[in-house]
Structures are given as structure tokens and as C-alpha cells.
Symmetry: C2
Subunit: 378 residues, 2 copies
Amino acid sequence: MKVNIAGAATTKFGELWRRSPRDLIKEAASNALEQAKIKPSRVEAVFVGNMLSSALGNQDHLGAFFAEELGMPVAAMKIEGACASGGLAIHAGVMAIQSGLYETVLVLGVEKMTDHSPEEVAQMLMGAGTDAEREAGATFPGLYAIMARCHMQKYGTTEEEMAQVAVKNHYHASLNSHAQFVFPVTLEKVMKSPKVADPLKLLDCSPITDGAAAVILTKIKNNEVNIIASAVATDTLGLSEREDLTGLKAVRVASQKAYQMAGISPKEIDVAEVHDCFTIAEIMAMEDLGFFEKGKAARAITSGKTKLGGSGPIINTSGGLKACGHPVGATGVKQIVEIYNQLKGIAGRKQVEGAKIGLTHNVGGSGATAVVHILKKG
Amino acid sequence: MKVNIAGAATTKFGELWRRSPRDLIKEAASNALEQAKIKPSRVEAVFVGNMLSSALGNQDHLGAFFAEELGMPVAAMKIEGACASGGLAIHAGVMAIQSGLYETVLVLGVEKMTDHSPEEVAQMLMGAGTDAEREAGATFPGLYAIMARCHMQKYGTTEEEMAQVAVKNHYHASLNSHAQFVFPVTLEKVMKSPKVADPLKLLDCSPITDGAAAVILTKIKNNEVNIIASAVATDTLGLSEREDLTGLKAVRVASQKAYQMAGISPKEIDVAEVHDCFTIAEIMAMEDLGFFEKGKAARAITSGKTKLGGSGPIINTSGGLKACGHPVGATGVKQIVEIYNQLKGIAGRKQVEGAKIGLTHNVGGSGATAVVHILKKG
């Protein structure tokens, strides 16, 4: 499999109160098209990754809505799978190109979250969970806190080690002008931040974010950056039905499928964007993706292996969900943008020197959906 | 293009107050799998067409939700494009097979609408329209009434001719045990039904419906029924931006693309399921799909050409949205089920003798999304 990425861009992520979703996608799409040197009229289909336009925006026709805004009266649809909506939209775009039905497509990811109260948004996000979890009053920080406790109990993972994920990702975000939090944080600051769901503190959690991302996929070959694997797997919606809570089975299944499709091993990945909705999620991702042995990722992160300048793989150079921000439907598309920039060598101060193979890992809910992409230079 | 339909089924459509969405999709999927003689473990991806699970059901992770319910931990996603969600989910399924990434996929369409007040549902359905339409207090019957008035003015179409669409479709539904309204209606009854949005009366409008449909698509060849064209187009979300209101441009674009893809002309279609959300919509569809010249469809319908036993093409043998019912996200999938049954020769009392080529036409909103599929026997 080889689907070319012709262009990719994101807006600034953050609390963008003065900007509308259509304004955001227009900026991201225009920049991606310009980079790709592709005229809008060449785009034959639009795939939109978005979770909450219905619940928060009363808009249930997002594909046509954005196609009109961009002046592209072509095939368009919204793809939804909770916080994995963006990754799934990329998967749909890959299918579109591979199918031969389309030659060039635009994949958008967008979410506008800060126009609503955090309580309202937190409630709407639970739309990704089960009825039982909602009825029990669970929130996503609470669900990931359960996983953190299990991981701590089984592998001796500590709160300091989780905090190190935040420290690393804030450092990376401090090099990324498009990030929501462009400042570093100290270990002490993370450890002393208010508890959200014990053991997770405020600075262990990704923020509520507005933002958009756009990627142009095409079957026209060039020697730049290609998607060489695209895999999706699902698991039970609720934690209560799972055998083990120290990792995500859907991630293991999807990543194994992706490695097989690409014909590579986890050791060959130079750089990856992973779904660190909470710091524990990045630790679990390192293990589920095969970067480190089970129970050993937390120490590897603390030792600096995954930080810019480390022995690699370098993780979340964008700042991740934690510090670059997490506009849910945009996240999976933004991850592709960041890896594209890394492999193209245009990632600026956060460039991983000589990066040739990259991976993206996008998760829906508490792990019910996992989407893994592998990108290669040349 | 040739994507095989291995099995297809719908639940009963109607006010199914005692049944949940997961119960409905389970029945439809089980029956489709049984008909296909395919084990659930052979299904490699699930595409769910649905519009309102977020707004009405607080569920924003429908792909994984249903994949779990069906015991299929495979790739899964929700596809949304207002009332065209089902047709778009079929399009995604076709891309999945054509891409070579999947060998066998399950496409589901489902909507649970009658648990809410009609006022609430009508408001939520306006999520398919523009902000301006919502702010002006427009409803979908109102928007289609504007189109009906334009058609009447330009082509002399009469209220009686629109009513004939309802009479025909109710007659077809009276032969379909899965239809919401399994009874015929007289022209007089339609004409005397209460006005909803002048000139549209209650019996010119499709109902609010619960129901699910399932289709198994596979690349494994057999000589039964295949999808030979799948095309999507979009147009402006709102009526105010369109040049002409007597037809839907997106339908003309999508159908021309589909005919070209299939290498056939409209004259070769024996049987079609079209999106008659309102009776005027079926008249416009007949013209936009090229079955009759512009302005001549209403008379052709009145003369009985499109009714079972007529010279054809025979339209909406299921009863259409009007009388079989319109569970919005399920409709586009149900249309494929009906044409599959027709081409397989298992449509029972509503069988069109010798049907070899069929078409489906699924529309989102007031025409911003159009999806056209062409199916062929052998």
C-alpha cells in the first residue's frame, strides 16, 4: 500500500473563541492545498473527522457543509468514532484512493469545543462511553484513572513517571507555535497541580481545544511522504468488559496489523504521534505499540529516550494531545500532519534529524477504537 | 467496478417502542449474514449509517458500540451525511472492498426516532440545514413545499399528481410486510389529509420511523447481485444559494457519474428505490435521474408507468420513504436491500418480473448530498 500525502496543515490549536468551524477548516484546507500545489478543483472527495458537531453545534450534515464552504461540490461525508474520528477519516481517505474511485481527496479534522462550558463538554464526551458508565457518573479522567491505578499496581508505575510524560510533551510544545500550551512545565508543577481523578492531576490531562487539520491524499506518486499502512481495530466500549486494564487491546491488534501491512517492526519507527489524552495513555501506548516491553515504558520515558535528542522513537514532537491540544475530531488528522512535517524535514525546531519512518496512534473513548497509520519517506 | 452483495436484510420498519438500536441492528445483521451464508468472523469492517445517535441518543461511538454488540472486534466507524447517511455508508463499504483493504464488510443503517417527541425530532432533523434556515424557523416539509410550489409554477404540476405518488407507494407498501404503513390510501384520502406545509399534506410526507438495515459486501465473486456504480455529489446546504428549485443538482451530477461508471443509460433501469421524503421529491427524482423529461414525470406517475405492472421503471416497490418508512440513517441501506431482493427475484408479491438492473437514490437534507448506486444481476 502506498498513498501519497501531497500536503498537510493545521490551524493554531487553542481557545479560539473568535473563530468558527468553517473558518478553521478553510484555513487548514487552503494551507494544505497550497503546500500540495493542487487546485481545489482537483479534489474529488472530502472526508471530515468530527465528533461533537451534532451535540454541540446542531449541525448534522458536516460533509456537505464544508464542501460548500470550500467551493467543492464533490462527494463528502462525516466520519465519526469518538476521539478517533480524525484517524478514521484518514483511513476512509486511504480507502478512497486505494479503491481507484478517487484520485485526490481532502481529509479534514475539526472540533470547536470551547464555546461551551467544560461541564457540558465533559458530559458530551461521555457519548463515547457506555450507558452504564454514564449512569455511574464516570468521566474520561475517571476511566483513565482506573487504568492508571491498574498499571501502577501491576508494574510499579509511579505518579512521577506519569508526570514525566507531561514534562516531555510540554517541552516539545514549547517548540511548536501551533500548540495550545507553548510553555514548558516542571515535574514539580505537574505533581502539585490539582487532582482531577486520583492519581491523575490537572497537568496529566489533555485540555479542551478548538482546532482543525487538513491532509491531501493522492494516488499520484512522488518521492516524498507516503502512508504505507492504515489499520483499525475495536474493543469493548466499556472498561468493565475487558480482561486487562493495563493496556488497550485494540491498539495491539491495529498496530500489529499495521506493522504487517508495512512490512516493518516497531524498532524501525523513528518518530510517532500517540494519543496521550492522559499521561498514563502515552505510557500504555509505548507498550501496546511494541516500542518498549510491558511495564518498562515509564522508566524509558523518564530516562529521556522518547524526548527530542533521545535514542528514540521520539514521541509527540507536536506536544501531543497533552500540550499541543486535543480538538477531538481534529487530533487524528493533526497527528498525520506532524509526522508528514517530520518526514519531510520541515518540522522546524522540533525536527527529529534523519526521521524516515513515522507512526500515528489515535484512540476513541477509553480504547474501544484504535487507528494506526505508518508513514514513510520516499 | 463490481462489488458483490452477499446478503441483505431489514427489520420491520415502524414505531418500535420496545426495541433498542442494538436490538434492531442485531436482527438485521444476523439475517443478512445468514442469507449470505457467511460467518460473523469473516466480517473485516463495519460501516454504520446513522444521523441522530448523538443528538437523540447521547451515543457518539456507534461503530465500536455495534461492533461489540455483534462480537466483531474489527474496524468500525459511523458515516454521517444527514438523511443520506445510509447511502454514504454503502459508498464507504464499496470503497473498502474496492481498496483491497477488506474482503468482506458489513454495512448497517439504523435510526431510532420515535422515543422522542415529533417536535424534538423535527428540530433535530434541521441539523441537516443551514443556520439561516433554522433561524427562520424552516422545517423540512416547509423547504420541500417551496420546491413543490416552484415545480407547480414552472411545469403545471398539481397537488393531485403529487398525491398520486403517495397512492402508488402506499399500494406497494401494502404488499410489503416490513413496511410501516401496510395499507393502501385513496387519492381522496391524501387530498383531504391535513396540511403540513402548503401544498404538502400529511400524506405527502414520509413518517418518523424506527428501523435498521444490513448489507454484506464482498469481493468474492458470484453470479448474483453486484453494485456496478457508486457515486456521490454535494450541493449548497441551503435552498437560497441554488439557481433552480425544481430539481436537485447533486442528484443530476451523482446519477450522471453513476450511469457513466456503469456504462448504461437511464432507460436500462428496471426498478429503483428513490428518496421520496415528500411526494414532490419523487417527482423531481424521476426527472433528475433521467427517467422522464423535465416537467413530464408527474403525468407519467399518474398514468401508472412507475407502479407495479407499469411499463417502468418501477419505483419504490418497498413503499418508499413515504409508506415503508424513513428511519433516516437506515434508508439508504434499506434501498439497497430492496433492489437486491428485486434483482435476486425474492421480492415476493411486490416482485418486478425480470428485473435485471436497479438503482438507488438517497438524498441528504434538502438536496445537499446525493448518493446513487446501480445494481446489476449477474
